[in-house]
């Protein structure tokens, strides 16, 4: 357990993806079964404990601490799990039991052996539980026995161990490791593709001994026991200006780029003949439970690829509306009725047992059209093709989708997808097949107000910039912050921006520096963004979607930066969808 705790502790502070992978691989390679498998289960969210709840922890700590000291401590630390882990009065903390400056200090108890060296004369050695013991006991111990069991572990573990235990119980690891990353680490142990692990994953269960045996070359590839598995999605590249000269428009087909959530719907039947229907996110996460209304509609066998949208009375709703369904934890009949899920499909990967991914896109499209026609379900429809014969045609369509057949759905369109007619369906982001041609971003000239230190590789740079625009009448102009951006610039520009922040600091607040700004001083940043939303959380009343630094206007006087009215106008045009959580690459 302490080893798992040390891993979580380290992961939590490590911002770099590759370093996280190294830490995970190191752990998996040096930890025996079944502990490592349970760790994998914990990190992929595969564990569920019925009786162990956060309230249990709170009750235990309240019995053991001075309420006033607990209050002060919680106030200081700010996180309940951590406060409890640190304040927990384990037996070893008894002042008399602590021996400092002494050569015969007790060595730490040994994990899992139960044979720890004695630390006192009369006290039995604390038994440090293994992760396996903890997980198995959490799953099987009755509600009445659980408090004593958990208290016993809390006594035996160190601070980090207790912290990890509480995170396990509350099922909120939050150490910056996605299920995908954990699986990738396992895959890398065997130098196989993460997608291979993904394919067999659903047939496996904790503690995944079969999986580890396979990646370590000690056992066969596990059967994919999942009749409706996820297949890795095919992703696109942004279309750049210089691409048009190189690409022949006649070799491509185009569709609208819908502003929804990319999903894969898979359907098959289990060994008992019953249908198995699943919906996956772009990264292979099973999200079926969030969309029971859509799962119901999957009356086919195979796998299709499309966009989740909310459609009311035949009209696609904005992303803002979709977000209201996504943010709910409980999926109630009322929610489903109010926000009916819709799948607008654009590709097919499997039909029955037949793998269609090697076929040309145009051919797959015909198979998909036939399938959708057969399905005849209003919840699933085709993403229409956008006819064009030259890039100029398509540019015109992209500029005004409503005029080219999108009608009132145009608001939910964020550009075009351009796909090579002969393209196979390939996992990942292969070059040369699929392109996204997003609508042009909005641009605004804003003034830098604050710089904040970045994370990881950028922790020595002021790389996150808050910027503002002018408001107020003549003589009363003031800058009001409208957003924060931390990308869009090159590494060379970052060095310059960092130097600018350092040399123009007027105030510091921890990791944040306020820089000089005013009518006659300050740095103008041209900020690009995808949309605007009214926000009560921001002083300016607006929130930007995907803001980034488009250009640094070293030349432009601050007084000539844009005013808040510019943003108000964009808002009035009905551009209101903002979803900071949405995956940009969808």
């Amino acid at each position: 357990m302490n080893r798992f705790a040390a891993l979580l502790d380290r992961l939590m502070f490590e911002p770099r993806r590759n370093a996280k992978l190294r830490l995970l691989m190191d752990y998996f390679s040096h930890t025996p079964d079944p502990d490592r498998g349970y760790a994998l289960a914990a990190m992929t969210g595969a564990l569920m404990f019925k009786e162990a709840k956060p309230g249990l922890i709170r009750g235990l700590v309240e019995e053991r601490t001075d309420p006033e000291l607990f209050r002060m401590s919680y106030h200081y630390v700010g996180d309940l799990a951590e406060t409890v882990a640190l304040i927990w009065p384990a037996p070893g903390h008894d002042a008399a039991a602590r021996i400092a400056n002494s050569a015969d200090r007790p060595s730490p108890p040994q994990e899992g052996t139960g044979q720890a060296p004695a630390i006192g004369h009369n006290n039995p050695p604390p038994h440090v539980p293994t992760l396996t013991e903890v997980i198995e006991a959490l799953a099987t111990t009755s509600k009445s026995d659980l408090p004593a069991r958990v208290a016993g572990w809390m006594d035996a573990l160190d601070e980090t161990g207790r912290w990890a235990l509480i995170k396990l119980i509350t099922r909120e690891l939050r150490v910056g490791v996605s299920a995908r990353l954990a699986k990738t680490a396992v895959a890398q142990m065997g130098q196989i593709e993460p997608d291979e692990v993904e394919l067999v994953w659903h047939g496996l269960e904790a503690p995944y001994e079969e999986l580890f045996a396979w990646v370590e070359g000690r056992g066969p590839k596990p059967e994919s026991g999942n009749p409706a598995p996820f297949r890795p999605s095919m992703l696109s590249h942004p279309l750049e200006d210089e691409d048009f000269g190189k690409l022949d428009a006649s070799e491509f087909l185009a569709e609208w780029k819908w502003d929804g959530i990319r999903l894969q719907a898979a359907s098959g039947h289990g060994s008992d003949g019953r249908p198995v229907r699943r919906i996956y996110s772009r990264t292979g996460e099973d999200v079926s439970r969030a969309f029971p209304d859509l799962v119901e509609a999957l009356a086919f066998e195979g796998a299709i690829d499309g966009e989740l949208l909310i459609v009311r009375e035949g009209r696609v709703q904005s992303f803002n509306v979709l977000q209201q369904r996504l943010n709910r934890k409980a999926v109630t009949p009322k929610l489903i009725a109010e926000f009916p899920a819709h799948l607008r499909v654009y590709d097919i990967l499997f039909e029955g047992e037949e793998d269609l991914r090697a076929l040309p896109f145009a051919e797959r499209r015909r198979r998909l059209e036939a399938l959708v026609t057969r399905l005849d379900d209003p919840r699933i429809d085709l993403s229409p093709m956008v006819p064009f014969s030259s890039w100029e045609d398509l540019a015109a369509a992209r500029a005004d989708p409503a005029a080219v057949g999108a009608g009132p759905d145009a608001d939910a369109i964020e550009g075009c997808m351009v796909k090579r007619a002969n393209s196979p369906y390939l996992p990942g982001r292969p070059k040369g097949y699929w392109y996204k041609w997003k609508r042009d971003p909005y641009l605004v000239d804003a003034v830098m107000m604050y710089g904040q230190r970045g994370h990881g590789k950028r922790s020595s740079f002021y790389s996150d910039y808050t910027f503002g625009v002018w408001r107020g009448g003549p003589g009363e102009e003031e800058l009001v912050p409208v957003g924060k951006a931390y990308h869009g610039f090159t590494d060379e520009e970052l060095v310059k921006l960092d130097r600018y922040v350092r040399n123009h600091t007027v105030k510091r607040f921890g990791p944040v520096r306020e820089v000089e700004y005013g009518r006659d001083r300050g740095l103008v940043l041209e900020v690009a963004f995808e949309g605007l939303q009214r926000s009560t959380r921001h002083k300016s009343g607006v929130a930007m979607r995907f803001p980034r630094i488009n250009r640094i206007r070293w030349d432009k006087p601050a007084a000539e930066a844009d005013r808040i009215e510019t943003l108000e106008k964009i808002l009035e045009r009905g551009e209101q969808e903002v979803h900071p959580l949405k995956d940009q690459e969808a």
Partner: protein, 351 residues
């Protein structure tokens, strides 16, 4: 009849003051006569007319401020009773940093102990804390909350060594206060068998040389040559906390940001500082040791100078010990004052 404790020690804007002996302890402004517990810059300031401290503390002040840091100096030998005015003072090891001492003041049968900063945990670079029984115990409370429980320092150092082994292509930049913490980390690394050179930021050099001259074995500790930074893959580099995220640290190969401090116990605090490998190593007592020390001194009254005073006062009160917070200003939390000072100097230089 025994004197009242306030006859022996009282609080003035300059710091703690002994009227009967006419001297201040660790004054924050220049005074006529100062008794200094240890060499950290928030306790040992330059400009007093006369200074009494242990030999090592006097030398540290000389290293930091130059030989003429005070009008005159007097060495206090550890364990020796010295008459000052109408009181007797005695310096006893405090276990905080090299040369650190508690100061016991005795008059008319009453003994007051000013502990300065102290710790009970093992430290190969200084003498261990000795309990001095007393009537009034003046303690700090930097880590005076029951969430501060410092772990075994060796395990923390092993955490660092494991990381160096796992990421041999990266440099590990360890922020540590220039006096005490830096040398303790180095000594612990040596005890754990690390025999590679430990690279030093220029600001660490003189005090580290001083520790070596005092017989603390720290091995090979070359100074980082600016132009060679990019070649230090796999190396451990020790620097002041203010440098771990500064321009200076940028040239090292993919640096892992480490920070050795008791504050690293609280994750939010470590994250706020952008630390990737927090090392919970403190030169102050943790909660359990503060409570234990108060008990062991047998003091009936406790004054808490600075830090998380309220919680410790609450604990004393619930354990039948009279206690009051002094809310003293000017003393940093584990060197944060020093860090702030360094940062200000740096900002001035950069502008």
């Amino acid at each position: 009849m025994a004197l009242r404790s306030t006859d022996i020690l009282t609080q003035t804007p300059q710091g703690l003051y002994c009227p009967l002996g006419d001297f201040h302890i660790d004054p924050v402004r220049p005074v006529k006569r100062a008794l200094i517990t240890h060499g950290h810059s928030d306790h040992a300031r330059a400009g007093h007319q006369s200074v009494m401290a242990t030999r090592q503390t006097l030398l540290i002040m000389g290293v930091r401020y130059g030989e003429d840091f005070a009008g005159s100096t007097q060495e206090a030998a550890l364990g020796e009773s010295i008459r000052v005015g109408d009181v007797t003072v005695r310096f006893t090891p405090a276990g905080h940093v090299l040369g650190s001492a508690q100061i016991a003041i005795e008059a008319g049968g009453t003994r007051v102990v000013v502990s300065g900063d102290y710790k009970r945990a093992e430290d190969p670079t200084c003498l261990p804390y000795e309990v001095v029984p007393c009537d009034v115990f003046i303690t700090e409370a930097t880590f005076g909350l029951p969430v501060f429980r410092h772990p075994d320092t060796r395990a923390e150092v092993r955490k660092l060594l494991n990381s160096v082994a796992l990421f041999p292509e990266r440099a590990h930049i360890v922020g540590a206060y220039a006096l005490g913490k830096a040398q303790r980390v180095m000594a612990l690394l040596r005890e754990e068998g690390y025999d590679q050179p430990i690279y030093l930021h220029g600001a660490m050099e003189r005090l580290t040389e001083f520790y070596k001259a005092e017989g603390i074995p720290l091995g090979d500790t070359p100074k980082v040559v600016a132009s060679e930074r990019s070649k230090l893959a796999g190396a451990i580099v020790v620097c002041p906390p203010s440098s771990i995220q500064d321009l200076w640290s940028r040239r090292f190969p993919d640096p892992v940001t480490c920070f050795a401090s008791g504050w690293m116990r609280v994750r939010a605090r470590a994250r706020q500082k952008g630390v990737e490998l927090p090392l919970v190593i403190s030169d102050h007592s943790d909660w359990d040791d503060l409570c234990r020390t108060i008990r062991e001194t047998g003091a009936g009254e406790v004054w808490v100078t600075h830090g998380q005073e309220d919680a410790l006062v609450h604990w004393c009160t619930t354990h039948g010990i009279r206690a009051r917070p002094l809310h003293m200003l000017g003393y940093g939390d584990e060197g944060e004052a020093e860090e702030a000072q360094a940062a200000t100097e740096q900002a001035g230089g950069a502008a």
